[in-house]
Symmetry: C2
Subunit: 434 residues, 2 copies
């Protein structure tokens, strides 16, 4: 088999066989096939696409390129949850305790990655003392005890994805549905859970800017999971504005705690509860989403969900008192009110730029070695469709380093479109694919 | 400027500016931009194409990547001729002396390259003593004296093409009209002639298998030449069968000599005379092709064309007596007659495979270090449309090394399709683009 023949085959729009896909992934990871042939193949894949079977074969070849997590020490059906990413998406911190309190199991490993705002691990690490590096034995013990644990990835999971992603990033081949689906699903399938619930984001703050693309990606990932023998369902949800109100690591932890405590409503809570209910049904804990949702409401009201979060924090060496007193979380030196400059309605937001605002304040990282400031970010006071009067507070900025403050305020104001009418109403949930 | 932005721009089907094209060619040649980004860009170019201006900018950027030949020591309008390649295309050996004898100037530099059969330089080198390595001073002196010289390329011409072609060859990005046109025209523009006549081949023995593609390539090259300020015209001619009857280096030299001597007719002569007449008009020697053609016929009849060839051979240190006695050229040990196995008509030929037959006999090279046997090859006795009877000689094989003889005979017989009717008539000249 020669890689040049596979490049030409894909260039012509033909279908690659499992053997051919294994050949190219194995050869690339081993170093036998050079970057310049793989980048050419990736660009051909971008233009010609891959069908469901090819994408599944690609995903499995990537899974097989490295270690696989063994979660058999955790007794019961483990349901993983994954979001394709966006701004103020703190759902994991809420969903984990909800599912655990309602009787399910969440044994989640997160990657670190880059982002405008921190990832789940950064949000957790804003909690004093919390350690996301746990041994596999301790991880199993935590989940077996309190039903939920979220830790950093260990082992050499999916090296093919690391190498391919690094190449895609510099060769303009990131935005292909099969390559995105393969990248996400290979990591999900390697990390040992039994079933998977996906939250595919769509909108100005998501990778997928339209419903069509998001549904296509969701369907591809559900198909891969199914073909790989792991039941998978996907929600397609909105990312045309930040999902929660808090943007920034400790702020997002606070919002998660407030939701678990029953003190805060909004889109983030709605999406988190829906994801939790799907996970509970998939995990066999409840026969219907209605029954699962009733239980979820109960564990919020009776404080069980918040207690589970505290328990997980404590077992991961953190200060569990934060669930009762969020003042224990890092706080910024200054709070600056950002006010509306005109009357009108919030018509739209450039959510990607709103993520960039948090990055400018120090909440995210552009390279792996950047240090995240857990305290900084902003708390959004208005959402799309809200009416505003000149002088109304749009957001509170939590600031330590003022270096990029002016730039961040300017970008924030530019990102929020205020018009004379309420604008187009946007959905929160677009589709469910199972 | 970042190469990743150029990749994404071209991937989206946008037009690259001259500055952007210079950036990518300069960066690639200098080693600042790695192979894996260029191969990705090349694949994007394959799918999205390049317009006339982009292709010209690419060509000029490649020309500027290395040395340029200065032919100013040769007084008069130098017209270059280039064929995109095929089997039994000995036109250069005929066209050069014809144009010179009719009053024009041909100062041609050939590259070596790989091929089923040898290139122009190999055909010339089959003439005892002939030296294709001449200094630029001597080259000018030869052209100034006898009107024609063909030598090997000197200097570091178009290093960008060498590097790009090597990458295209292993990344499935050879077959794009802009990349092909840029590769050919950059070498033509760097090698110093004032005007260019192109012979774009079409058919089973050519890179372009259909008229549409060949015309597109021809038009693109004519446009590049024109935009670069060098008048260029192109013929699109047939390569559905070997152009001449001789396939192999000394055999092709013999056929060229016989045509120049007026002793041999056929497609090769027709195409060569047409090319020569175009070159003479382009060079300003004759106002019309009719007048040029009359002169061409005259210089064949009166022996002037053959004499010029002998003069060039002598000035390049070769045995000019070969033009009067082709027995002085290398001859093979054995001549084997290949006979038809059935009655019928020659309907079609797989010309690419017929080139491979000559390669198997030792007439060509698959890697640069291969040594070509000048004596071997075959002389085709039938052409498409001819009727054959079982036992008729299809070709005489000229053989030294019998190692691949059986394989070559088998491939030859498979390459000639004999049917019950004469089949579709094929054209010799498809189009002229100016």
């Amino acid at each position: 088999m020669r890689i040049i023949d596979l490049i030409i085959k894909k260039k012509r729009g033909e279908v690659l066989s499992r053997e051919e896909i294994n050949f190219f992934i194995d050869g690339y990871v081993s170093g036998d096939i050079p970057d310049y042939q793989i980048s050419s193949l990736l660009m051909a894949i971008y233009f010609q696409g891959m069908n469901k079977q090819e994408t599944t074969d690609l995903t499995m070849a990537m899974v097989d390129s490295g270690d696989k997590v063994d979660l058999s020490a955790i007794k019961g059906i483990k349901v993983d949850k994954h979001s394709t990413g966006g701004v103020a998406d703190t759902a994991t911190l809420i969903v984990g305790p909800l599912v655990a309190a309602a009787g399910g199991l969440v044994a989640k490993m997160s990657g670190r990655g880059l982002g405008h705002t921190g990832g789940t691990l950064d949000k957790l690490e804003s909690i004093p003392g919390l350690n996301i590096s746990q041994s596999m034995e301790r991880f199993a013990e935590i989940v077996n005890t309190c039903g939920v644990s979220v830790i950093g990835q260990t082992g050499n999971l999916v090296p093919a994805d690391k190498k391919l992603y690094a190449l895609r990033d510099v060769t303009g081949t990131v935005d292909n549905v099969s390559l995105i689906a393969g990248s996400i699903m290979s990591k999900k399938l390697a990390s040992g859970s039994d079933k998977i619930v996906l939250d595919v984001k769509m909108g100005s703050g998501a990778f997928m800017k339209d419903v069509h693309g998001a549904v296509e990606l969701a369907r591809m990932m559900v198909d891969i999971g199914t073909l790989a023998g792991k039941e998978t369902i996907a929600l397609v949800t909105d990312m045309n504005q930040p999902l929660g109100n808090a943007v920034g690591n400790a702020l997002e932890a606070i919002e998660a705690i407030e939701i678990l405590a029953g003190k805060h409503e909004g889109d983030l809570k709605v999406v988190s509860c829906l994801l939790a209910s799907k996970m509970l049904v998939l995990g066999g804990i409840f026969p219907t989403e209605e029954k699962a949702m009733a239980k979820i409401n109960q564990v919020i009201e009776n404080g069980e969900a918040l207690k589970r979060f505290g328990q997980m924090i404590e077992m991961q060496d953190g200060d569990s008192e934060v669930v009762n007193n969020t003042d224990l979380l890092p706080s910024a030196e200054k709070i600056i009110e950002i006010k509306a400059e005109a009357d009108g309605f919030i018509q739209a937001m450039n959510t990607e730029d709103m993520g960039m605002v948090a990055l400018l304040l120090g909440a995210g990282r552009t390279k792996k070695t950047d240090i995240v400031d857990p305290a900084v970010g902003y708390w959004l006071k208005k959402r799309i469709g809200d009416s505003v009067k000149k002088g109304d507070i749009l957001a509170d900025f939590y600031v330590n380093d003022e270096k990029n403050l002016d730039e961040s305020i300017e970008l924030f104001k530019k990102s929020i479109i205020i018009g004379n009418n309420p604008g187009k109403k946007i959905n929160l949930i677009y589709d469910t694919i199972s």
